[in-house]
Assembly symmetry: C2
Homo-oligomer: 330 residues x 2
DNA sequence: CTGAAAGCGCTTACAG
DNA sequence: CTGAAAGCGCTTACAG
């Protein structure tokens, strides 16, 4: 037996479908008697409104499309958690589409959203503005997250890498560190690049000696960099890795070499993954679920009024632990 | 300017909407000339089909509803990753709905899915079968994940806690351990209860001395349990914690007390969180993304043919590391 | 090969 | 307060 429709309810309640619709939507132009008859029929039939049909009528779906690249665990779950929290607060559902491969597939993923969602949240780090704009549906509001959007025409949210890096470097300076090393993330990654640039800037601004070593965001690369520096006898008293994984690798290399941390060398990372807390690693917490919440809130707002566009920076937070500060308990 | 519809395309291509529909869907009863005219018009207008309208016509949405409780990071992201992988392979999108609060809200969340999805994947650990059945829409196929489903009437997937626990206990036995401690998870949690029961069973089957201590899945509780056992002078040579967090707490307590691990005491956990690998903790890997994939595959199958219902067990895997075996490298 | 028409399950002016 | 009818944007028998 197929699901009951509004017609079945109308027949049972002996009213028109229009009346059922009004009663169900709580309009006030329905008599009490009719309202009761309708809700009785609804209950008897186990009727649940067909959201798809409703959307088509109303040109409103109460769903938000979320298009993400392949993200690693913590980042993905925190982002979706933030999106979902804000969405469910306003009665929206999230329609998820992961970009497993890049390019071509992005266009398809976005097309598939047409007619299913009221707005789009897009994170596409490998696409440039031009490609993205060609792909994004025109009729539907979209907010970009952490995407390369040089023109800045569209509403977008970015992690404020610069602010995070500055906080780390200033923390180093305040601790009397003079010779900094930055272990950079992979080339082509926008966050990695911003962090490296900001590092140089901040080191200069604080009059600190600084050098950049190339890593790739993996733990092993952090370890390798430090071993290499030690082998070469390079002099340094602080390491800032572009993410926690590499910082942890660096920490291991120093521990193995019996270099005192933070006595001789301070170490800081970026991300604040759970392991960072466990190891007492000073880092920059990105609070990614808050970024998600903000992004969704902005999108919902764009649904009701024009969004002027432009970047909104999401400030991360420096979390000081014992790899930079011996006074910190755990 | 609102988005172009199929009528706009028809007008521009000077054909009927029926013909446009046929051309777009690749039916063969369309002349080449017509087909070209249609695709030209589509391109010129930037037309993208309205998936919502299409769904209503076809009674098929190509979306799967996913209803989950509030899950912690790793578990959530891995599960969704598995679901998404399998879904996108078959051209399905995922419609996400998190159950922030229990009970009442579940019914709403499920109703909201009506007419938006072709099938439902539900994980609702706090609901019993009866409540769930009252809530689940009848017309639409649903697969349950790790849910209390005593009757077993519906298609469901469960983590095979029993098999995982058995593997741990047998590994202990093979290593010559005789006096086991199980740190249990919180009461009322189905996984925790299954693991505790299976522990007792397996210990008996292997003729091992065994005792259960109450924990709550948090690291601190594992630590507290071990401190307490040591203080009381309780004799044990192996600890199996119901999850990795508690195992890690237990490990810390032993390290502080200078108890040799694994020399004097072996420790194993459950879950295989990233930190477990890092600390060399023997554990049971739940491979949760595979569970997700399987669940979705089963649901997709239920869309085309009747699912007989009943449980499918997902076998976890024992990962042996140095907290139980000194011979293991890292 | 193509078009006119009915239908998917709702909502909402319009008329009464 | 209520109903008949048109419409949301598609698909698909039916006829030609």
């Amino acid at each position: 037996m197929p699901d009951a429709t509004i017609r079945d309810v109308a027949r049972l309640a002996q009213v028109s479908v229009a009346t059922v619709s009004r009663a169900l939507n709580g309009l006030d132009n329905v008599s009490d008697l009719t309202r009761t008859r309708v809700s009785d029929a609804v209950r008897e039939l186990g009727y649940v409104p067909h959201a798809g049909a409703r959307s088509l009528s109303l040109s409103r779906t109460n769903a938000i499309g979320v298009v993400l690249p392949d993200l690693h665990g913590e980042f993905f779950s925190e982002l979706v958690r933030g999106l979902d929290r804000e969405a469910s607060r306003s009665g929206y559902l999230l329609l998820l589409s992961n970009l497993h491969r890049g390019g071509e597939q992005a266009a398809l993923a976005l097309s598939a959203m047409r007619g299913r969602v009221d707005g789009l949240l897009v994170m596409a780090p490998h696409l440039r503005e031009a490609e993205l704009s060609a792909t994004l549906p025109s009729g539907i509001p979209a907010v970009l997250i952490n995407t390369r959007d040089e023109r800045g025409g569209r509403p977008a949210l970015h992690l404020d890498n610069r602010a995070g890096v500055r906080a780390v470097v200033e923390h180093f300076a305040a601790g009397g560190r003079k010779h900094l090393v930055h272990i950079a993330g992979p080339r082509g990654n926008i966050d990695a690049e911003e962090r490296a640039e900001a590092f140089v800037e901040a080191a200069k601004a604080n009059g600190l000696d600084h050098v950049i070593a190339q890593g790739d965001f993996e733990e092993e690369s952090g370890e390798a960099v430090v071993k290499d520096l030690l082998a070469k006898g390079h002099r340094f008293d602080a390491i800032f890795a572009a993410n926690d994984n590499m910082a942890i690798g660096a920490l291991q290399a120093l521990n193995e070499a019996r270099v005192d941390v933070p006595g001789k060398v301070a170490i800081a990372g970026f991300d604040d993954i759970p392991l960072a807390r466990h190891l007492g690693l000073t880092t920059v917490s990105v609070r990614i679920s808050e970024l998600g919440e903000r992004a969704l809130a902005r999108l919902l707002n764009a649904l009701v009024e024009e969004d002027a566009g432009g970047d909104e920076l999401h400030a991360p937070e420096l979390v000081i632990r014992r790899t930079t500060d011996p006074k910190v308990a755990k």
